[in-house]
């Protein structure tokens, strides 16, 4: 089991095509970017930031759109439909509730 895992991880590195490497590069850089962009958030904004970021994580909707595209009723399509519904709830609900909160911060007494 262990040696198998090792072999296969070497295999991954050896067979890593350029697309995987550039995707990994983007991933790592984006994580650093995230840390830079979001440092020093005032505590007032912790909840809205989290629900806003939460809405952004619904971006997986983009992936879900590719999963429900054929006419035939297959397991893949049904899973795709559920993925779209869940991700859309996350995106729409997340952005709306964040806006609702931030509107409260903005209003005058």
């Amino acid at each position: 089991m262990m040696s198998e895992a090792l072999t296969s991880s070497f295999f991954v590195l050896a067979s890593a095509d350029t697309s995987l490497l550039s995707e990994l590069t983007i991933f790592v850089l984006a994580v650093f970017l995230g840390f830079e962009v979001i440092t020093k958030v005032p505590p007032t904004l912790h909840t809205p930031l989290m629900s806003g970021a939460n809405a952004i994580s619904g971006v997986t909707l983009v992936g879900a759109l590719f999963c429900a595209q054929t006419h035939n009723v297959t397991l893949a399509n049904i899973l795709g439909f559920l993925a779209i519904a869940f991700a859309t709830t996350n995106v729409v609900g997340g952005f709306m509730v964040t806006d609702r909160m931030l509107r409260m911060f903005g209003k005058k007494r």
């Binding site: 198998e4 895992a5 296969s8 295999f11 991954v12 067979s15 095509d17 995707e23 991933f27 984006a30 994580v31 995230g34 840390f35 979001i38 958030v41 505590p43 007032t44 904004l45 912790h46 909840t47 809205p48 989290m50 629900s51 806003g52 970021a53 809405a55 952004i56 994580s57 619904g58 997986t60 909707l61 983009v62 992936g63 879900a64 759109l65 590719f66 429900a68 595209q69 054929t70 006419h71 297959t74 893949a76 399509n77 899973l79 795709g80 559920l82 993925a83 779209i84 869940f86 991700a87 859309t88 709830t89 996350n90 729409v92 609900g93 709306m96 806006d99 931030l102 409260m104 911060f105």
Partner: protein
């Protein structure tokens, strides 16, 4: 050619999302930032629809309509006190969506691959790993978030559930997940074994998410929500690897990073390491009951009625409110603001001291008070307000307990030792509005209740605050 255009459109969407997130982290720009992020999302989704091309849109439209309706209803109906539940639920949905995308892609491959062979031989090892990682992280985010949701909502006890040998069980379930994934990638060569492995990975990851969150107590939910928020982002980034979509990778990792930052802030505010929160079973019997902690009961508690408290407030010059979770439960945010406004009109200086983990998610108390029209200039962070307590006439603790417990300062054997607290005991007089003397999440006594200058006002926070305002008006 058109492929280049879609790539550029995705890049545009990602850039707008980044700008939005950047603005979301500043008070003045936050609302525009959120709208900008929503615009970025719209660009991304529109681009994806174009890229998908002319298809039968039945499922797509149905999914979008259902999701939008549910999202709108949830976002407009939710009470601000229930924000943590909603965010937990959304985290779970995001994780579930990512896992479903990966599952759908996998079954689509099974359906169309015709001549059956091993998935990693056919699609590449890195692709297989991305699919499996997406399923694992997405599925455990789903069940973990559902447990967090139920604990926050009271559908499940907030007490840690400690299974005997839970570390061993968790370890075995995790190894089982990896074993299924390993077999899928290296051995499975028929449709039935492949399906079996995929189902195994999914089921075990679902179980793992549940097992990992049940031992975590209600007080630690701010950390758990932040961490699950991070996971939901990572899961989205993994689907980006599956579908070779850079936009998904970028936005997913941004969310992953922001969730981690909030996790770190929350851990620091409780003086605990992430490992301790996740595996410690804090607040359960194994940590309480130490010499400096435990419940020994109280002997010299002084009680005070709302009208006596009002008389003391009448002659004071400065008041600091210390709101805690109990304020949220009692829905007393409007009552506290009314009392504060009345005091201000009489020329009393009023401030609110906000502990970083007050409420049940990061920044929750700020949102609750903003809802009640408390100007955010009056909300003072812990480090800035602490030096002011010794010059404060009255500190009014409303439904907070562990975050004002002086044991955290010097009782080295207490479970909360080292946690930064609000120094309310340094005020000339401290009112503590509380239903009873019952302990907070940490399950320990609070010597503040017996302190020389402390006065307990028992009752429902909302009722007591309203009564105090009424008594003040009549004075």
């Amino acid at each position: 050619m058109s492929d280049n255009i879609t790539q550029i459109a995705y890049l545009l969407g990602a850039a707008i999302l980044i700008l939005g997130l950047k603005r979301l982290s500043g008070v003045k720009t936050a609302r525009r930032g959120n709208q900008l992020a929503a615009l970025g999302m719209l660009v991304a989704v529109a681009t994806a629809l174009v890229e998908v091309g002319k298809i039968d849109y039945g499922y797509v439209i149905a999914g979008l309509v259902v999701g939008t309706l549910v999202g709108v209803v949830l976002a407009t109906r939710v009470q601000m006190t229930s924000m943590p539940e909603l965010v937990a639920l959304f985290n779970g949905l995001g994780g579930a969506a990512s896992a479903l995308v990966a599952l759908s892609v996998m079954f689509d491959w099974l359906n169309t691959s015709g001549e059956m062979n091993n998935v990693s031989d056919s699609m590449g090892v890195s692709w297989t790993i991305s699919v499996v990682a997406s399923i694992i992280i997405g599925a455990l985010t789903l069940t973990g978030s559902l447990v967090a949701y139920m604990k926050l909502d009271g559908k499940m006890s907030g007490n840690p559930v400690l299974l005997p040998g839970r570390h061993v069980i968790n370890g075995l379930v995790f190894l089982g997940t990896l074993a299924c994934a390993g077999y899928l990638g290296s051995q499975a060569d028929s449709a039935s074994t492949t399906t079996l492995c995929v189902v195994g990975v999914t089921a075990l990851s679902l179980a793992l998410g549940w097992l990992l969150v049940i031992p975590i107590g209600g007080a630690d939910m701010p950390v758990v929500i932040s961490l699950l928020n991070s996971y939901s982002g990572i899961a989205a980034a993994m689907t980006g690897f599956v579908l070779h979509n850079n936009l998904l990778i970028i936005s997913g990792s941004l969310v992953g990073a922001s969730g981690l930052i909030l996790t770190r802030i929350m851990c620091k505010a409780m003086n605990r390491s992430l490992a301790n929160v996740l595996f410690g079973g804090f607040g359960a019997e194994e940590t309480s009951g130490g010499g400096g902690g435990g419940q020994k009961g109280y002997t010299t508690v002084k009680e005070c009625a709302p009208d006596e408290a009002a008389a003391i407030l009448e002659s004071s010059g400065s008041v600091v409110f210390v709101p805690g979770y109990g304020l949220a439960v009692a829905q007393a945010q409007h009552a506290i603001r009314e009392l504060a406004e009345f005091l201000e009109e009489k020329g009393v200086s009023v401030k609110y001291a906000i502990h970083p983990v007050a409420g049940r998610m990061p920044g929750h108390m700020n949102v609750l008070l903003a809802e009640a029209n408390v100007p955010y200039e009056q909300l003072i962070e812990m480090d800035d307000i602490n030096p002011e307590f010794k010059n404060t006439d009255v500190a009014i603790v409303v439904g907070a307990n562990d975050v004002v417990n002086p044991l955290a300062r010097n009782a080295t054997d207490s479970p909360i030792y080292g946690m930064p607290i609000l120094d309310v005991d340094q005020a000339r007089t401290t009112f503590i509005i509380k239903r009873s003397l019952s302990p907070g999440f940490a399950g320990i006594d609070n010597p503040l209740f017996e302190a020389e200058n402390s006065l307990m006002i028992f009752g429902d926070a909302k009722g007591v605050l309203e009564q105090m305002t009424k008594d003040l008006r009549e004075l």
